[in-house]
Symmetry: C2
Subunit: 307 residues, 2 copies
Amino acid sequence: MEPDYAAGCAYTMDEYVPVKDAHISILDMGFSRSDCTYDVVAVWDGGFFRLDDHLARFARSCECLQLRTPHTLGDIATILTECVRRSGLRAAYVEMILTRGVPQAGERDPRRVTNRFHAYAIPYVWIANEDQRARGLHLVVARSVERISARALDPTVKNFHWGDLVRGLFEAYERAADTAVLVDANGYLTEGPGFNVFACYRGQLITPADGALHGITRQTVLELAAQIGVAARVGRVEPEMLTQASEIFLTSTAGGVMPVTLLDGQPVGDGSPGSLTLRLRELYWQAHRDGQWVTPVDYRTPRRVAP
Amino acid sequence: MEPDYAAGCAYTMDEYVPVKDAHISILDMGFSRSDCTYDVVAVWDGGFFRLDDHLARFARSCECLQLRTPHTLGDIATILTECVRRSGLRAAYVEMILTRGVPQAGERDPRRVTNRFHAYAIPYVWIANEDQRARGLHLVVARSVERISARALDPTVKNFHWGDLVRGLFEAYERAADTAVLVDANGYLTEGPGFNVFACYRGQLITPADGALHGITRQTVLELAAQIGVAARVGRVEPEMLTQASEIFLTSTAGGVMPVTLLDGQPVGDGSPGSLTLRLRELYWQAHRDGQWVTPVDYRTPRRVAP
């Protein structure tokens, strides 16, 4: 009998399993040193969104960490598709992971370890819940913690080093907010747990250039803004620019474009989601329907990769 | 039939398993956010070394991260002892881990997740191999990467955020060395992958006060130095103090006191392990025989924790 993949389907150790049965060895350096990278691509209405861009970023991340995937990008696309197909999910959060792997007993040298590929598809994840998305998120600029420096860890290489971001989340909760954005050692804005941040400041959109992931949703927003003639750029963002912003929104593969309506306890603009934000959110979901960036999933045809 | 625990015995999801069968869910935030803490205690010649100190540090780490272990420290001691007993190992590397746990589908809030305890005993791990320990380690001060700042992540809370340390290791290999010590944003020395560093500078021992784990082997060395009347302190250590040091050594639960004989390609002192280093190494292992800090393992009596 076919296992039940409705809660999610994973691929690990060269086989497909229900996601609840997908594990990492306790000895995998991907866990014990967080020595791994990953990427997340969304499936919406039965199609991947910007799959090639996510695969390309994943390949670059692997290369930067001197990790080697046992699969070609084509085979990874096949595996991700098969995870989605088996789950039957029309809206999915699809993650690919490459871990350093399990060393031989006593081995400490990461060069001598065989890297391991894992993937899974689970129901689409929103970093903000329905209520938060409707009313707009309540954001704080974290005071108790700063973002891990790019000189210590390259934030453009997607990673699980979330200790600072999690501490930022706890601070947000203590301050009765939903989430937090972190600053770097110089006090400039970077990013938050799972998202990039945009401000509409003096009529232009701006998002931090440094200290942040080059988010694919961020990139999509920059491209959509250009299409509708709205000036948008990446640059240095000071907290004061957020305070004075007429609109703020977050971008993430896990939720798209999400308005922020309260910053450090103060209303952003008139305290309701901004008009440009709502327009970009509409265009973002419209792009999912248009199909330009969409790779449809064929749910009827099983696919295999060569072992 | 009793499983074969000779390669190591783990405790996870409330049962004992051979370490090769010990896993973390791919959805555990301990993996996907590196939201976890751990500690490592050594067993030498059938006894734990400074077990209570390791347990106390682990408890503090859990508290700092707002993680709650399902076990008392007494029960954790019992579990660790049982892992060692089942493995039969007389010299073991014993790790305890608390992960945030597996969230409900779609849940992003770490406060709403049940934390999970894991532990294992495997054969004693040396961060330097036999040859390296005999000739002395070849160390570099990393140039390509700096240590994650204490303002982003508290280094006294033991964690798996090793991206910077792994990058330091790769740099060491590229520079034909064995391992690397990292500096902070101000250029002061911190620590390396799995160890603290000591310099004998102007006749006194010094080890970095900030940006480093409060290692229990480091503490042991400070106490042993005091016993033999050698001045030793924690303080700010500049790379130049390493360059000018008459001796350098590393300390770790995974190896004890390990001499460094080459720094950035230049000999330390006369290029052989220093006399004070060797004396402290001898005292360190002597302390394991003396029994003051030792908790013997009873290998014959199975132990249980209440479920």
